[in-house]
Symmetry: C2
């Protein structure tokens, strides 16, 4: 009883799908502070220079670099400290020749200065080394900082090293320039992006709305997890695993009640779930009749219908990729291991497309293969592996459970891919493990 | 003005912290279906065998293997099909010698059978190859499946290949055995774990309560992101970046208003934040006086106080690790790049300890270094890199922005670590990039 479908390689299957799929992500306004892991719907440009004023990168003295040229331990430059720039205030102090101002890390540089001498390379005349910064700070702590300049008592310092123009200074716009592209559309927001956007005063962004993914499971033998299965019955595994995988990929899973094993029931449930969501995933049983029924139902859901029926992947061959009324529909193999492999190959990327997102980075670790793994050429093999550290080296130990055992996935830490043109990988070879 | 602290290597610093830190994670009951990424507070064992009955892995005929021995294309075994096992029902059909029952993938095996012959290796006598399964299914679709056995019309099949005892059958407990450890305490729930737990009827678990992490930023120059900074002022970057990093590590960030640059203000804010949370992170400015003030405040928060002041890491040297009244307190460097490096090294692992969680897998990719990177021995260097694909190979291009520029982090995709005993890494070497 051979099934009548053309088997595609995974990349061919994806190309066929992509050739017809047009994603139109929708956006909503969200606060940047709450936008971790959200996907940008539009590119963001800098509204102004960052920083907006020249800042010191050290504790020290803002100087005209020219005043320090030739300075050395033997022949120090002598400068007068005529003021302090308090943190968070404009550097209003004016400097004449051979004058400088005390500045703190992150403080503003006065207009007449173009560099900062580190306090470590100075000595207060008549004082102890490096006391300058401390003293200024003490005044600060006495809460006179808001009006510290008028109360400042000038003193003199010796400088033992010259500085170049711009040294120890962050220039205006050195972090990012006004108008620069800050983050492109499709970028997924990381912690540091939140900081970078807020630094520019961007407190709201247009983020892609998470696509709703309808998840349908079928089978007369399947009961809900809270029920006690009778003989011949099993609890629903795939719906909840697929829901969690959907959430992780950036979608909103929408679960439906288990569909009984009748064509009309599956048709009605599939049509409703497709109407109510942006995408549909059907996980039926693994018997041929289930698979035939799934294909028949998907084909009736809308044009263009089934694009791919069968991929050269082990496990996961009986996969359906379809577009029904512009919405992606995926028929997954019923075995949990196969369903997860196919989810990663096709469903997660489709969710990313619906989000308008750039491809997500996969969590990968290098490891050495603990035993020989054979593979048939012409087919991509996905082998579940457990990671083990042996004498400081990471090893990938194949977990050869049947693909209809959910605990094959639970006992493994990740998966390795044996390419289509390979007939296996030798023990001891370095492989890349994609973590679950 | 040298700061008076002993610099520790990162591993020494962590050991010193771990020697005194005792984490007592708290747990709450949560639904497994909502438990993605939660951390198990207690180990879970299987309450029963999975599967609970012998299941077929193929569409075919449940047989006594003995009845098929010696079967071949030239000399097929002839068996009578006396019933069908409907999906989701007990296999009540009784088999005598040379009798078998039609079964579907995932269906139960009758008590008298010990193997399943794939339908592809049979032919219905007088019918076409492989029609048996289809025919049974057709009856199924006519909705007589609930009482199909009485209505079943026996027929005969030829079998062309022998099967061994157990072939194409999942045995009782083959997925997981009653009493087996299913998941250990500290395990972070993945999508497949949700499926595996629900398959066993485990619908609620004890999950660690996410620790609350108080985040304090200090500085007279710092204004809230929605404000327009005046000359010398900057918007708060670190609070929100640290909050997002905290959330990603599994904690609940609790932000406080920016603390003005006065000792009493920082003391009061730190004491309140420590009281209200399980952990405290203080991000002050980068000037020495800020750092001194932070150290002084942390030392006064409770015993044993500061354990580590200064780590041999670039960037990130002025780091404080403390335990105050059994709660971890971390003083982070003020520069955003340094703060993130130190967060990953110490704060994220401390949050994992508070969760009772196993170490999280880091997202790593191998890449070749695009240029020579020098490093001083005796210090770990963390170099921000951008990933670039060149002729199909992944390259790590160092991003040499100053560590006080937030966009250094945004322009980079990850970080490479130059070990303490290395004086650099040569261009073209393979390195491991830990993605942001």
């Amino acid at each position: 009883m051979p099934e009548l479908f053309d088997v595609h390689t995974p990349s061919d299957a994806w190309r066929k799908f992509m050739a017809l799929f047009r994603s139109v992500p929708r956006a909503e306004r969200v606060a940047v502070a709450d936008a971790l892991d959200r996907v940008l719907a539009a590119p963001l440009n800098a509204p102004h220079d960052l920083p907006g004023f020249p800042r010191s990168t050290v504790d020290g003295y803002a100087v005209a670099a020219l005043d320090t040229y030739g300075a050395s331990a033997g022949l120090p430059a002598l400068l007068e400290v005529v003021g302090e720039v308090a943190m968070g205030e404009a550097a209003s102090v004016r400097l004449d020749e051979a004058q400088c101002a005390l500045v703190h890390t992150g403080g503003m540089i006065p207009a007449d200065a173009d560099a900062v001498v580190m306090v470590e390379h100075t000595q207060r005349v008549g004082g102890t080394e490096g006391k300058g910064g401390k003293q200024g700070k003490d005044g600060h702590e006495d809460e006179v900082s808001v009006s510290v300049v008028p109360l400042f008592s000038p003193f003199s310092i010796e400088i033992y090293r010259p500085v170049a123009v711009g040294q120890n200074v962050i220039q205006i716009g050195e972090d990012v320039r006004r108008g620069d592209l800050v983050l492109p559309a499709g970028h997924q927001i990381r912690p540091q992006d939140i900081g970078g956007l807020l630094a520019l005063g961007i407190i709201e962004i247009d983020a892609a709305i998470a696509p709703r993914v309808g998840i349908l499971s079928q089978g007369d033998e399947v009961v809900a997890p809270e029920e006690t299965p009778g003989p011949g019955q099993v609890r629903d595994i795939n719906s909840y695993t697929l829901a969690a995988l959907t959430r992780r990929a950036g979608g909103v899973p929408v679960l439906y009640p288990i569909v009984p094993d009748r064509l009309e029931a599956l048709e009605a449930a599939a049509r409703q779930a497709l109407d109510e969501n942006d995408m549909l995933v059907i996980s039926a049983g693994s018997s041929v009749s289930y698979r035939d029924m799934t294909a028949q139902v998907i084909q009736g859901l809308g044009e263009p219908g089934i694009l791919v029926h069968g991929v050269s992947v082990k496990p996961g061959k009986p996969t359906i990729l379809a577009l029904c009324g512009d919405k992606p529909v995926c028929g997954l193999p019923g075995n949990p291991v196969s369903a997860m492999v196919i989810f990663d190959l096709f469903v997660a990327p489709a969710i990313r497309l619906l989000l308008g997102a750039q491809a997500a980075a996969k969590t990968q670790v290098p490891a050495r293969l603990a035993r020989n793994v054979a593979s048939a050429t012409g087919r991509e093999d996905y082998v579940q592996v457990r990671l083990e550290t042996r004498e400081g080296e990471q090893w990938a130990v194949p977990v050869f459970g049947k693909s209809n055992l959910i605990y094959t996935l639970i006992r493994s830490d990740g998966v390795i891919r044996i390419p289509q043109d390979s007939n296996g990988v030798a023990q001891g070879s370095w492989v890349t493990v994609e973590l679950h």
